[in-house]
Amino acid sequence: MTSALQKLHNIPATALFGMFVIACYIFVALFAPVIAPYGESEIVAYEFEPWSRDFWLGTDSLGRDMATRMIYGARNTIGIAFVTTLLTFLLGCVAAFLSATLQGWVDQIISRAVDVIISIPTLIFALLLLTIFGTSVYSLIIVIAIIYSTFVFRIARAVAVGIVVMDYVEAAQIRGEGLWWIMSREILPNAAPPLVAEFGLRFCFVFLTISGLSFLGLGIQPPAADWGSMVRENASLITFGDLTPLIPASAIGLLTIAVNFIVDWMLHKASGLKE
């Protein structure tokens, strides 16, 4: 018990703050239907009602409760960004480990394809692909995952190339283990620590890109509540001096900062630096 407290004490305040914020977000996202006072896209009053006891943050451009949409937004926005990041890592890591283990032309083909995709600006390529596949949540997840997996590929490949030459991998190969075994049992556990920090950073980028696309009306589609599109739908309130539409935007910013704090701390710990 004391050692656990000791450990907690050693974590810097910024990282603790980050963990607390993320825990709150996860709680809200998981229990959204319980916490939210109204239904996700239920029209409960007139448009743009001010803040009141019934409507904590007022109502939006269609008369839906803002607080409710914020709460469901946590679920949709973070959920979709998280699933996308998972898929990004799955694609990126499998391609990278294949590249590193097989080498030769497989490595050449995948690496050159990645070079091309990376040389096109992310947002522009996403817009191009969304035009072709249409703007639905599924195409959004797949398009973003493919684009960002190129960045994961580069890092995971660099890490894996160093692991493939280790004796234990050679031993496994001689033992006659299959490709999948080598990738999942030999390379993955040893490549995991740097990739975990990368996961946090990538999540931030994916989260910001998806919010940006939703803000442009090309990401998560209505009537699903989502923070990016909430800003866009209610932006006209800002010109009347009401900052309510910026609450979802600051929710996005707060989560990004919280994740960054934790990633900083993890990188700091991994680099072996002591205060």
Binding site: I120, L130, T131, I132, G212, V231, I238, G241, P245
Partner: protein, 318 residues
């Protein structure tokens, strides 16, 4: 031989190759459509005859490589094709918007480059000071929040509360330069804040790396004044990394324009791109994506070239 000339030519060739492959990718992406463009535009109800006629009109009956070469040929001649929705030549649609976008990006670059360099050098020299910490927190926040958040905060402060600048940056083509600057100030400021944060952090990091080198310590130890150490010894070697940082951030800026243009309803290329994506106007999207990508690749290539050329070991003939 001239190793520098060789390296420069190599980078130029790589840049041209990247551009070619990217144009191929942008062209080929349309081929991924279920069916083809004609079916997508005319919809389910089209008769086979109208479909065939439309395909001939768009040149879809030709094999893909011929179409690509035609497209590329017209592109190099300055003809970007016609919009599928409005049937107007894309060149007409783009020309003014392209100018507006570059105007906005250039305006933002004019403010952000000197500001970022100044802050970057200042914070690197006074590392750990309260100024350094304050700038660090502000720049971290500017990077972490979405672009539209920064934009709306500025709208709230400068256009709602203070009423100094308009919140919508619509331009008429005959506006005077002064009016243009006034109307584009808020979008430019938004871009400035975002790009400055990146640029300043990178400048700071490269200067700090530089100051840790032995020859700077040598200069200090031999008794050179701090000003002389910085101006005479550090700066000549800092130019290369700083110019590289600036070029990379110009590439950022060109792409960052998209969301900012939408927030301020600015008549630029980004706005057109977003509109065309929701209308699924494939030809316009292709053209706009190509222009954005080409500019991005160009700036990245420039930054690469500068970092190669600034290496004195390569500049002199061996």
């Amino acid at each position: 031989m001239y190793p520098l000339l060789f390296l420069v030519l190599q980078r130029l060739f790589l840049g041209a190759l990247t551009l070619f492959v990217v144009s191929l990718v942008i062209f080929a992406s349309i081929e991924l459509l279920p069916g083809d463009v004609a079916e997508q535009i005319l919809g389910q109800s089209a008769t086979p005859e109208t479909l065939a006629a439309f395909r001939t009109e768009l040149g879809l009956d030709l094999p893909p490589h011929t179409r690509y070469l035609n497209w590329l040929n017209n592109l190099l001649a300055g003809d970007l094709g016609t919009s599928l929705i409005s049937q107007t030549p894309i060149t007409d649609l783009l020309s003014e918007r392209l100018y507006n976008t570059f105007f906005l990006a250039g305006f933002a670059a004019l403010i952000s480059v000197p500001l970022a360099l100044f802050l970057g050098i200042l914070t690197a020299l006074h590392r750990g000071s309260s100024l350094d910490k304050a700038v660090n927190v502000v720049s971290l926040a500017a990077i972490s929040v979405p672009e539209f958040f920064v934009a709306y905060i500025l709208v709230f402060i400068f256009s709602v509360e203070l009423a100094w600048f308009p919140s919508i940056a619509n331009l008429s083509s005959d506006a005077s330069l002064l009016e243009r600057l006034h109307r584009t100030f808020l979008p430019a400021l938004t871009l400035t804040l975002i790009v400055t944060a990146h640029m300043m952090r990178m400048t700071r990091a490269s200067i700090i790396n530089l100051l840790a080198l032995p020859y700077i310590e040598m200069a200090r130890l031999k008794g050179a004044t701090p000003t002389r150490t910085i101006v005479r010894h550090a700066l000549p070697n800092a130019v290369a990394p700083i110019v590289t940082v600036v070029a990379i951030n110009m590439a950022y800026l060109i792409v960052g324009v998209v969301i900012v243009e939408v927030v301020f309803v600015y008549p630029g290329l980004g706005q057109l791109l977003v509109d065309s994506v929701s209308k699924r106007d494939f030809t316009v999207v292709q053209a706009a994506c190509l222009i954005f990508s080409a500019t991005y690749i160009l700036f990245n290539m420039i930054s690469d070239l500068i970092s190669v050329m600034s290496n004195p070991r390569l500049r002199h003939r061996k």
